[in-house]
């Protein structure tokens, strides 16, 4: 490879590494252009190691590279040397082998998979690296003698695939993938079912007279042998669940199922061994196989999503600590002590309540409090855990341990200790109580009749066992899994990921809906602003930009991002410095040394400040008005302040539910919002502002105590308590790779407007389950009628039982598809 000849890139080219447009001062190397030094380093490193086919490995558009992140400091990963932490981060460790699972959010295409699976070329200590694309996870095996976790993590940073390292405790709470044993159970049941059917077929075809002795016996004994793995291995979960249920005094749906399976087997054993009859083992195998299939179908796992997360998952693993000698080093968060001096950089979280040691710092608490404006702290101010630092790095001294800080306080509330929905039993299980009771009564009555009235004891045994067999609620147990399984799949495709079918059932019962404001109804990212008003000169634009840069208000940040494209650096420096005052909730006033004055803010405030407001624009949305030297110029209007379709959605919901809004912002800040939406919410009393995370939790608690079934939609940590206390808590996210608070469902923000349809669909789903249960009951009535008369032959049973199951499966799957509202189906 030639030595890098760095020169300036002339035209707007695309970066050879990350595919973004190169800026005018981009870098070129060997005819390839780069947007930044970081991308060039990655490109060069890959080229030198013969890995440049990375850029052509995948037939995707553009270049596969992630934009190179900021450079890392040598001490950034000191904590990865910490033995106690390593023990928790590594899945396995011996002298010659260590295994780690790293979550890498940057994985997005086949090239990523290719490069990450070739890590051994960049670090010979890596033995094997394997990507799970859906989980965005790298399974890493390395030789601890030749490499280390720290070395690999630093390497990953260098090639722009920074891993997101969190504690194992937070990770193990994620929903497990379908365990291998479940596949084995299903496979074994399927195998036995198929072969038992093969040996049972001759019996069916032989008709009433039965098979000749030898064959009948041979096939029956073979069936018996094949049914053992089904009974002992495949059906084990049903027995276990039934036992747990009975011990807890709870007759769940698995009780009649387990009873049916046991009776099926015992009756068949007696039939085959004593009476020389064929037995009912074909029915038993079919039943277990279909039930397992139902379980599998219902087990929806969303690879990238985690529903259960506690506060620890929000924090970084390590903190940067300044030692007494003035050096900085990183330490794992567990070892952070009160009194430590920590250094926090732009975009990082404050891990514990602390005092600010630097002169000033801007903190964004939106994630914790829901308040969108950044707060400015001065030296010796108390800052709370969970604040995100924006701007230049700052030093803090911790005054509380992590576990007792403001952010974690919420988790000390009792509701986080209880298991959610602990007392809830779903429709199938509620029904199962009566069903089991009814079947036992019918079976006993039939037995008593045959034994006492007819005096035929063998007929009595026949009728009792046949009743219990035919009443085995296989079809009933399949109704909910197949209906809800289909619904969960359809909803997930539209952007609503529901944790499980239980949650879907609770969703159908919703009576009150509570929305968070910031990040849920409104977009969390600063929306694109548009300028309306008089044409302004470059100088005026530059002064406005200079003024807006001083503030961290979302509108100011929006103005900066618009104006920065129109004002170049020379014009900006030409306007000189200014004294800038920010009046919280009102606006900004800048007095330039050149004598000019710029006002940005609310129209009312501009008038108070003496601006001539004759040309004021009437605005309904959030707007920042501008006046230069007392003359009104116009306003930056925030478009798409609300997400699309929100108003229509609220109008639709208001008819059927009580809807509320909870916001961390003060009513003053939100005057526009109140005007805009109090109608849609059905009055101002439904809009509650200035709510702390604790207030939100209590509001939900009050609703729940009032008998409402609540649905809470929120996005940040500040909603975590409310999400937990609500019957169904839904976390709203911009994209499904984002980090969410613990919740029962995750909703992509783009799909929020579809909420009324989702709720309607959940209710329809419940209706379908009820109909399916009715359908399976009809079959049971037919079967029981035959059974109590002693007319249930193995053939009738082998036809009737799978037929009822398959009818229910087809009915529930098809109707769950067909009855989906158009919005859900697309």
């Amino acid at each position: 490879m030639n030595s890098p000849a760095t020169s300036s890139v002339a035209a707007k080219e695309q970066c050879a590494h990350c595919g973004l447009d190169c800026p005018d001062n981009g870098i070129a190397l060997d005819g390839a252009a780069f947007c930044c030094e970081g991308c060039r380093i990655v490109y060069q490193m890959l080229a030198e190691n013969d890995l440049d086919s990375y850029y052509c490995a995948a037939p995707t558009d553009g270049s596969p590279g992630n934009r190179a992140a900021a450079e890392i400091d040598p001490g950034d990963f000191d904590y990865l040397e910490d033995e106690s932490l390593l023990a928790r981060l590594l899945d396995f460790r011996s002298d010659t082998l260590a295994i780690a699972r790293l979550n890498i959010p940057g994985i997005h295409c086949a090239s990523c998979v290719w490069l990450l699976e070739n890590l051994h070329k960049l670090d010979p200590g890596v033995l094997q690296s394997e990507v799970n694309f859906m989980r965005k996870e790298l399974l890493l095996r390395f030789d601890p003698r030749r490499s280390s976790l720290r070395a690999v993590v630093e390497l990953l940073h260098k090639i722009a695939y920074p891993p997101d390292i969190r504690l194992a405790a937070a990770r193990s709470a994620e929903p497990p993938k379908t365990p291998r044993i479940e596949w084995l159970r299903l496979g074994v049941a399927g195998f036995c079912f198929g072969n038992i059917m093969l040996f049972s077929f001759p019996e069916y075809l032989a008709g009433a007279q039965g098979l000749s002795g030898e064959f009948g016996q041979l096939f029956a004994w073979l069936n018996l042998a094949l049914s053992l793995p089904v009974l002992l291995f495949s059906a084990a979960p049903f027995f276990r669940s039934a036992l747990t249920g009975l011990r807890g005094g709870n007759v769940n749906i698995d009780v009649p199922i387990a009873l049916g399976i046991v009776v099926l087997f015992l009756r068949s054993l007696v039939d085959i061994a004593v009476l020389g009859a064929p037995g009912f083992l074909d029915s038993m195998a079919a039943l277990v196989f279909l039930l397992l299939l139902g379980r599998m179908f219902q087990r929806k796992t969303y690879d990238r999503l985690a529903f259960d997360r506690d506060y620890a998952a929000y924090f970084p693993l390590s903190v940067r600590i300044e030692t007494t000698e003035g050096r900085t080093t990183t330490r794992s968060l567990d070892q952070l002590e009160v009194g430590d001096i920590i250094v926090v950089r732009n975009g990082e979280l404050i891990p514990a309540d602390a005092l600010l040691l630097s002169d000033s710092a801007a903190l964004d608490y939106s994630f914790v409090t829901g308040e969108s404006a950044a707060q400015h702290s001065a030296k010796n101010d108390l800052v709370y855990a969970g604040g995100r630092l924006t701007g230049s790095p700052a030093r803090f001294q911790t005054i509380k341990p992590v576990s007792q800080s403001y952010l974690t306080d919420l988790w000390n509330n009792g509701i986080f200790a209880d298991e959610k929905h602990a007392g809830f039993s779903d429709l199938t299980n509620r029904f199962s109580k009566y069903f089991t009771f009814g079947v036992v009564v019918v079976a006993a009555a039939a037995g008593l009749y045959w034994a006492l009235a007819a005096g035929d004891w063998s007929a009595a045994a026949d009728a009792v066992t046949a009743s219990l067999i035919v009443a085995c609620p296989c079809a009933l147990a399949l109704a909910a899994p197949f209906t809800f399984g289909t619904s969960l799949g359809l909803l997930a495709r539209r952007g609503l990921y529901v944790k499980n079918s239980e949650t879907l059932e609770l969703l159908a019962a919703t009576s009150a809906i509570v929305f968070d404001k910031t990040g849920t109804l409104t977009s969390a990212e600063p929306a694109q602003l548009r300028y309306h008003g008089l044409e302004c000169t470059v100088q005026e634009a530059a002064m406005t930009l200079n003024t807006a840069q001083a503030s961290n208000h979302p509108l100011s940040r929006g103005i900066v991002s618009v104006l920065r494209e129109q004002v170049d650096a020379d014009d900006l420096s030409a306007v000189g410095d200014a004294i800038i005052d920010e009046v919280a909730g009102k606006g900004l006033r800048a007095d330039f040394y050149s004598g000019h004055q710029v006002l940005i803010g609310a129209a009312e405030w501009l008038r108070e400040q003496g601006a001539d407001m004759s040309g004021e624009l009437p605005t309904r949305e959030s707007a920042a008005h501008i006046a230069v030297d007392g003359r009104y110029m116009g306003a930056f209007v925030q478009k798409n302040y609300l997400r699309r379709g929100i108003r229509a959605m609220l109008e639709k919901l208001r008819g059927a539910f009580n809807i509320y809004l909870l916001s961390g912002d003060t009513p003053q800040q939100e005057a526009d919002f109140v005007n805009m939406l109090s109608g849609a919410f059905g009055g101002k009393q439904h809009l509650r502002f200035g709510r702390s995370p604790q207030d939100k939790l209590e509001f939900l608690d009050e609703l729940e105590r009032g008998g409402a079934t609540t649905l809470m939609l929120g996005d940040g940590l500040n909603d975590a308590g409310a999400l937990r206390r609500s019957t169904v808590g839904v976390a709203v996210v911009e994209n499904n790779a984002a980090f969410t608070p613990a919740s029962d469902a995750i909703l992509e923000a783009r799909a929020l407007a579809g909420l009324p349809q989702f709720l309607q669909y959940a209710r329809r789903g419940l209706g379908i389950v009820k109909l399916s249960i009715l359908l399976s009951l009809l079959y049971n009535v037919v079967g029981l009628t035959l059974a109590v008369q002693g007319l249930l032959s193995p053939l009738v049973s082998a036809v009737l039982m799978p037929l009822s199951s398959i009818t229910v499966i087809v009915f529930s799957t098809l109707s769950a598809r067909l009855l989906a509202p158009r919005e859900v189906k697309q």
Binding site: W114, H120, Q128, F191, G194, L218, L222
Partner: protein, 72 residues
């Protein structure tokens, strides 16, 4: 008569062969990730495993063994 018994034995053996193939597939993790392998097939000649030397391949095998031990 005895022919049928032999045939039944053969068919059962065959079926058991398929069952053990299934068990092996589940155990070796083929059901754990059903998506990524579809991407791996796109990699051409310079794919992940081609560049690995003999000794490295042996090492990989020992890795698998220890991985199994670990799981048990």
């Amino acid at each position: 008569m005895s022919v049928i018994v032999v045939l039944i034995g053969c068919s059962l053996l065959l079926a058991l062969g398929f069952l053990s193939a299934f068990v092996w597939a589940v155990r070796s993790g083929q059901f754990d990730d059903s998506y990524t392998p579809s991407m791996r097939i796109l990699f051409d000649g310079r794919g992940a495993n081609k560049g690995i030397s003999q000794s490295e391949a042996q090492e990989k095998n020992s890795v698998r063994r220890s991985d199994k031990l670990h799981k048990q």
